[in-house]
């Protein structure tokens, strides 16, 4: 009888461990959503009512900039990104800022302070970051008309060298 109880206990313990392992695998596979391919997102807008879905910009070249109001290098590059938006929107280029890990009100304040007119979306929890492999702010991705990443910038686009690199990436994406 005691041996049977012991065996039952062992089976239950193994089943529990297996169950927890399965849950862990499920959580890792579905929880972080980290993939090599950029994912679509549908986020609320900053300073404007409504939502903004990345897929709605298919057919345009998107300069996707991940930023936060507390990020100092983001302040350095914001005026340049605004200039890119103003200069190239007529060609079918959209600069899209995604504010992450931030207070929404701070994002609004940042946009007002730097007179940003390009579309801004809010992702407080940072749910979009893993699918782009974003590990810090700012990071910028140039997506071609099919939504494929053609260039990535880790850190601020604030030097003439980086400006040229962004311009060339946009040109390449427009030709695709």
């Amino acid at each position: 009888m005691a041996a049977r109880l012991k065996l039952t206990g062992q089976v239950l313990a193994v089943a529990l461990v297996a169950g927890l392992l399965a849950l862990l695998i499920w959580k890792v596979a579905h929880g972080s959503g980290k993939t090599a391919e950029p994912k679509n997102f549908n986020l609320s807008r900053v300073g404007t009512p409504g939502k903004l879905e990345l897929a709605s910009l298919r057919g345009k070249v998107v300069v996707l900039n991940f930023w936060a109001s507390w990020c100092i290098p983001c302040k350095d590059e914001a005026p340049y990104l605004e200039q890119v938006w103003l200069d190239r929107r007529a060609e079918g280029v959209v600069v899209l800022g995604v504010d992450a890990k931030d207070f929404r009100s701070d994002a609004r304040g940042f946009a007002g302070r730097y007179d940003l007119t390009y579309p801004l979306a809010y992702d407080g929890p940072g749910a979009t970051l893993p699918s782009y492999g974003v590990t810090g702010f700012p990071e910028t991705y140039v997506l071609d008309r099919q939504g494929r990443v053609v260039e990535a910038f880790v850190g601020s686009i604030d030097s003439s060298q980086e400006h040229v690199r962004l311009r060339e990436a946009i040109d390449r994406a427009l030709r695709s």
């Binding site: 927890l20 849950l23 959580k27 936060a68 507390w70 990020c71 890990k101 931030d102 207070f103 929404r104 701070d106 407080g124 929890p125 940072g126 749910a127």
Partner: protein, 122 residues
């Protein structure tokens, strides 16, 4: 000896329950220090009291401002969860996947936390 051991255990349990209690200060107001030890910086993923990152400092300022405005600890936590998601809570939530952690880890702890929360919210 048994009585002394039981008393010691009881004292330890009461002390632990008090230490793990709600983030309420002596005046009945939420305690900033307690909240900062219970909420996680979304960038560095340590508790706020362990971080001096810009967003952690901003969140600490928010907590102090909300305490001054008269918010309860729960209201402050809810507001931060609304901005940053449930990941800002250092302990798992008591719903969805987070609930499983409470169920699997320690039903006794769950019962004690329920009691603490009921006392806190009541």
């Amino acid at each position: 000896v048994k009585l002394a051991a039981s008393l010691a255990m009881l004292v330890a349990l009461v002390w632990a329950a008090a230490a793990a209690g709600p983030a309420v200060g002596a005046q009945g107001r939420p305690s900033a220090a307690q909240l900062e030890s219970e909420l996680v910086c979304p960038v560095c993923e340590t508790t706020l009291d362990q971080s001096d990152s810009p967003i952690a400092e901003r969140m600490k300022a928010f907590i102090r401002a909300r305490i001054a405005a008269g918010d309860s600890a729960k209201q402050i936590e809810d507001k931060l969860v609304a901005q940053f998601g449930p990941g800002v809570l250092a302990t798992p939530s008591k719903s969805g996947f987070g609930l499983l952690a409470w169920r699997v880890l320690d039903p006794e702890l769950e019962r004690r936390v329920d009691e603490e929360l009921a006392r806190f919210e009541g």
